[in-house]
């Protein structure tokens, strides 16, 4: 589904990604872990098409298409979803209206007819339960005045509504208490399917107790330095990122 080859990217002349290689197949859940500044969020942003990042080398193909050629909205329509680390507050734009515009933009791209207001509301009512989100939030402005936990749950609610092929969760666990973490994880797990892939970007192993990954990759200094199964996350939790750095220094 997703093939990243030797991907290099920079922000303001500063090199952040220094050659990422990663293959993600449908149905898989990949966790990307790493210390602060290792490039985790940059990787998520580059995949979603954030313009602040300059891709300086390498390639990304998504279902056979050159992803880097596509505008952010085209990527979303092709089935990429980014759950933001810091969801944006948009005063004056109604949550439901915004989401219906998004759902219909994606449906249009797939050659499906617009969803009527009735169908949309019905679907939203179902999905909102999954995330235990207060339905009144849907009629407020996008993320405006939402608590940190509500914002993160709203991200996963949007994911459920938009039905992506590849979901990228950028530190969705940060700032969540254990209850919210469980709700969010439950929401993500409910969306796991053989057709869908998930990339979970996180600093902490804790989330991976709930969203159990098939693969864990450790990102350090802009490269994937170690890959393994879910047990790698536990090892990291126990030994800290220092362990990886030491191991790398030893083999260097």
């Amino acid at each position: 589904m997703l093939e990243i080859k030797n991907l290099q990217a920079r922000v303001d002349e500063k090199e952040i990604l220094r050659g990422i290689n990663l293959t993600v197949n449908a149905g898989e859940v990949h966790a990307i872990m790493g210390p602060n500044g290792s490039g985790k969020s940059t990787l998520a942003g580059v995949l979603a098409g954030r313009s602040a990042y300059d891709v300086t080398g390498g390639s990304v193909t998504f279902n056979g298409q050159d992803l880097l050629e596509l505008a952010p909205e085209e990527r979303a329509r092709e089935g990429i979803f980014l759950a933001f680390q810091y969801p944006v507050e948009i005063p004056g734009v109604n949550n439901m209206y915004f989401l219906r515009a998004a759902v219909n933009a994606i449906r249009k791209h797939r050659g499906e007819p617009d969803m009527t207001a009735g169908e949309f509301t019905k679907m939203a009512r179902e999905k909102v339960k999954l995330l235990q989100l207060d339905p009144s939030l849907l009629n407020r402005a996008v993320n405006e005045g939402f608590s940190g936990g509500e914002k993160k749950r709203n991200e996963i609610f949007q994911m459920a509504m938009l039905d992506p092929k590849l979901a990228i969760l950028d530190e969705t666990d940060s700032g969540l208490d254990i209850d919210a973490l469980q709700i969010v994880s439950h929401g993500v797990n409910a969306l796991r399917s053989p057709d869908r892939a998930v990339i979970v970007v996180t600093h902490y192993q804790r989330l991976l107790n709930y969203i159990v990954p098939d693969f864990v990759h450790v990102l350090a200094n802009g490269r994937i330095v170690k890959s393994g199964g879910k047990e790698l996350a536990l090892e990291l939790e126990e030994k800290g990122y220092g362990w990886i750095e030491k191991e790398l220094a030893a083999t260097a």
């Binding site: 313009s51 979303a76 980014l82 209206y97 998004a102 933009a105 791209h109």
Partner: protein, 436 residues
Amino acid sequence: MVDVSTTWRSQFEAQACANAPEWLTSLRAKAFARFTELGFPTRRDEEWRFTPVSPITETIFTASTQTVSAEEVALAPFAEIGGTRLVFVNGKYAESLSEVRALPKGAIVTSIAQGFREHAETLEAHFGKYVQGENHAFVALNTAFAQDGALIIIPRNAIVEDPLHLLYLTVAGDTPTVSHPRTLIIAGENAQVTIAEVYSGIGEGTTFTNAVTEIVLAPNAVVDHYKVQAESESAYHVGVQQVQLDRSGNFTSHNIAIGGAIVRNEANAVLAAEGGECTLNGLYIAGTGQLIDNHTAIDHAMPHCNSHELYKGIIKGKGRGVFNGKIFVRKDAQKTDAKQTNQTLLLSKEAQINTKPQLEIFADDVKCTHGATVGQLSEESLFYLQSRGIGLEEATSLLTYAFASEVIGRVKIEALRDQIHSALFLQLPAAIRPEA
């Protein structure tokens, strides 16, 4: 070349003033003399620095006697908002197109031409008593030429439930046409009224609307006023609105400007007694070929008055905007609470705004704040919308709409609010419309 000022003079001398009361004839003569002395402003004039009016002052305009059918009226923007409607065609009252519904006893909603005949005493007491024509050539010109417009008198304790719609239609002709509409609104003690003063247009072609509105509030009166300027993109519009508030009067104004080539709106209010409350809000959208200038002045003359002001501008293409917000707090006006906010959204690199808050405070125990921001749409918000599949143009449109909605949301007349929505979305790229 024909001398423009000679044309104004010959038109003034030729205008029919039969049966005009003496005070009015004399007021007009004084006003025209003052206009002649002042001459039109130029960019050397501080108040007109960013607003060149030479396209107006160098054109020869004539009054128009054109008539329009009810069907044509219905097609004009903001022609229908329901309820009582007075229609003016190029400044002249069109009785057959107007409809006055049931009003509280003693309320007068009519044309000012009729007012000169039937309510001469009231007019003599109020007409031209509030607006400052001494130093304003356009106001002086209006006073000299104003023959018609709306007269609204709401008696003491009367409450008018439905909005009164004043529809000033500018109908373009083969040659440039001018009108000088004049509105006088008098709200008695404890009276309450909502008024939508709409300047709309039919046809393309150069037109010039030179409007003056005077609004006077007796103690405790509540006036909710809307001005919509939606004339054609070849229209020139200068509109001066002067409000006088007596004790505990409450005045709210929403000034929506979306049409016109050169538009100058002045909204001035004097808080002349204690306890007054004045809100001036505005929203304007200027595109290529448009200059929209909003000048506001709130004069806190007496203590314990509040004023709130929120003006938002959206400038796209090569459009230009000007905002000047004056707040005076006089020596006696202790405990004044005044807040002014001006926000401008520039949607292109060529869009321009000149914005200037101007606070002059002579009292020491007051709270006055002002803030002006000029910016583009947030990149992060655009990316957020795009990352959900919404195209860049739609996202731009949606965020622009969101910026404007803070002002639109405060419009209490539902039909008007809906039409502002639609008009705004027609103006934006790839119109997408949230359902109400």
